[in-house]
């Protein structure tokens, strides 16, 4: 009998599902986090998971454009702006 559980396809789909869930968790934590520096790092987790997803979907073009923008440029822009404003998100009534 042929083994149907451990074929490359099922493994790839399982990993895709796991990465999707990881990116979901990263996005949720980035939204609710009050410390903006930590939020940037959570969104970096999400970016890494997405880069891997695009890789597994055989789209190296997208990986090549996504990784510099989402890991190299976007955290830099946000960190520059946090440095110029405030690190902790307030309630607005202080």
């Amino acid at each position: 009998m042929r083994n149907v559980i451990a074929t490359p396809e099922t493994l790839t789909y399982g990993v895709l599902a796991l990465l999707g869930l990881i990116s979901l968790v990263g996005t949720y934590l980035a939204i609710v986090e009050k410390d903006l520096l930590k939020a940037v790092l959570f969104s970096a987790i999400q970016s890494t998971a997405y880069a891997f997803i695009f890789y597994l979907l055989m789209a190296p073009d997208i990986v090549l454009v996504y990784v510099p923008v989402a890991v190299g440029l976007y955290p830099a822009i946000v960190l520059f702006l946090i440095k110029k404003t405030e690190r902790f998100e307030g309630d607005g009534n202080e």
Partner: protein, 276 residues
């Protein structure tokens, strides 16, 4: 109000459960969502058959990389307007920072330190590698995955890294200024425009029909840019588009980061905002 860690964990767990249940339901055929069949659609089949096909002389792009040939040939005008949107954003950020300029003397008095010598040495080694990788991504854009925007975004991280590690003073002392980057960006954009009109100009010179954004010869318009140059596959306009887009994107990102990394003291002084 700070969220407690219990609330956070509960939120994460509930989101994971809801998403998994939804995905399982859709995969099992519920909720009325039809998953598209996995076989090749006719449009994709057409692109794959014509992207590099010397026998279909009037339909081919002469590029083995189907994505780049779609981006810069089949839907070239669309990409042109996407590029326009990107550069409008950069023009907006330049307009926001008007009146604020980079002065080397002021920077020297302000903060010329940078990070530790180990990081500086490693960055000195890596910047060359980054530029090499980005040039490879951009110039092989018509052969392997990659292209002008990818290469430009990659190259823009090199000056940004130098700016962060060595300080803005070091960068401006060695001659990287906003005006130079603006010139480079404008040259790149002009190059893109010239490449778009190249076939039209050639057609006018030989008094035949030609189209804007034309790459290879078409029926009724038998002009086109050479697919092979110096015995190497250059795919007509694709290599020029990639090259000019590379310079334009790299320079555009660098302008934004040069403006963003000006210390807050100097920004306040130039824009006339007094210290609180």
């Amino acid at each position: 109000m700070e969220m407690s860690s219990g609330t956070k964990i509960a939120g994460v767990v509930s989101m994971v459960i809801v998403t998994s249940v939804l995905a399982l339901a859709i995969a099992a055929g519920g909720l009325g969502y039809v998953i598209p069949p996995p076989h090749l659609r006719s449009l994709a089949d057409w692109y794959l058959k014509t992207a590099l096909n010397p026998y279909l002389k009037y339909f081919t792009v002469n590029s083995p990389e189907a994505v780049t040939s779609i981006v810069w040939d089949y839907r070239g005008l669309d990409t042109l307007f996407e590029t326009t949107v990107f550069f409008l954003a950069i023009i907006g950020s330049i307009a926001l920072m008007r009146g604020i300029h980079i002065d080397v003397k002021e920077l020297k008095e302000c903060c010329p330190t940078g990070m530790s010598p180990i990081v500086k040495t490693v960055t000195r080694v890596t910047v060359g590698m980054i530029l090499a990788v980005s040039a490879s991504i951009a110039l092989h854009g018509h052969l392997t995955p990659g292209g002008g925007f990818q290469g430009g975004a990659t190259a823009a991280v090199a000056p940004l890294l130098v700016m962060v590690v060595f300080s803005l003073y070091f960068v401006s002392k060695h001659g990287l200024s906003e005006e130079k980057m603006l010139t480079l960006r404008t040259a790149g954009l002009l190059g893109i425009a010239f490449t778009a009109f190249a076939a039209l100009i050639i057609g006018y010179a030989f008094s035949t029909h030609a189209y804007v954004f034309q790459n290879q010869p078409k029926a009724e318009a038998p002009v086109g840019l050479p697919a092979y140059m110096f015995n190497a596959l250059t795919s007509g306009t694709l290599i020029f588009f990639n090259l000019f887009e590379f310079f334009a994107v790299a320079a555009g990102f660098t302008i934004v980061f040069l403006l963003l990394s000006i210390p807050e003291v100097i920004v306040k002084k130039h824009s006339g905002v007094s210290e609180e």
